[in-house]
Symmetry: C2
Subunit: 154 residues, 2 copies
């Protein structure tokens, strides 16, 4: 399984070899969240394979080729509407890429994160994703994904 | 200026005649917000004209044909991560459609809102949008739009 990569010549891959998927900025909306524990706003986008699976209710498990992209910003306040928490600077972008065989060691998902506008790959060594897996354990019964499709009339 | 409409035979137009734009669910991400004052999570999507304008910094004013769609959900808590505020039920969807001539009476934007999954058009009469305009006045110096493009490496 491969996918077109973003800025391939400029952006370093993650320690496990994963590269930033091309065109992730234009993917479709799966959901969003505001995290009170770390004061960040998040939007979760889905590539076409992931979006079609979500719309069809085929997310346990997700199909190989599905990619979920979570974009995370530090909170800021809207200068003209204080009660509105809006995205400030980019914190990080992270992805989960489904491939049962290729990523068998990490519960069937390729995990990768890049930090800040400069897209510094996250992780000390090639086993960094064990940390991602550990935290996603509470949702192992839904294929390790916390996020559900936001309801919208379709 | 016209645009393809969503569920044209089933969804009632707003009192000012505006219809829900077709395919808004697949538009590109402009930004997001969490509103503490009314406990809602919001994602703002942009059609291609609006997105290209935002990427080019041409948002004062926005070009005719730009459409911004704001999708609003009541807050809920993630059952496996209490500190995560996630979208609950749909509250409403609303749009701002730029057309300086057609919508000259309402500061160059066509405003329209539909409430709930059943998409009930909002507004008592054809002047309902004056209420939208009044509240958007704090940002009249940026063409009446609160939302700015969220930074993402592109």
């Amino acid at each position: 399984l491969t996918w077109p990569v973003f800025g391939a010549s400029e952006v370093e891959p993650a320690p496990n070899g994963i590269r930033v998927p091309e065109g992730y900025q234009d993917w479709r909306l799966l959901s969003s969240s505001y995290r009170e524990d770390n004061k960040t706003l998040r939007v979760i986008l889905a590539n076409d394979e992931a979006m079609e699976a979500a719309l069809a209710g085929q997310t346990n498990p997700w199909p190989d080729g599905a990619i979920l992209g979570k974009l995370v910003w530090r909170e800021a306040r809207h200068p003209q509407w204080q009660a509105a928490i809006i995205p400030g600077e980019l914190s990080h972008i992270e992805f989960m890429i489904k491939d049962q065989e290729k990523f068998a060691d990490t519960v069937g998902w390729g995990f990768a994160r890049w930090v800040g506008d400069e897209l510094k790959p996250y992780g000390e060594d090639q086993d960094f994703a064990k940390e991602c897996v550990a935290c996603h354990m509470p949702v192992k019964d839904q294929d390790y994904v916390f996020t559900k499709l936001s309801t919208l009339p379709r």
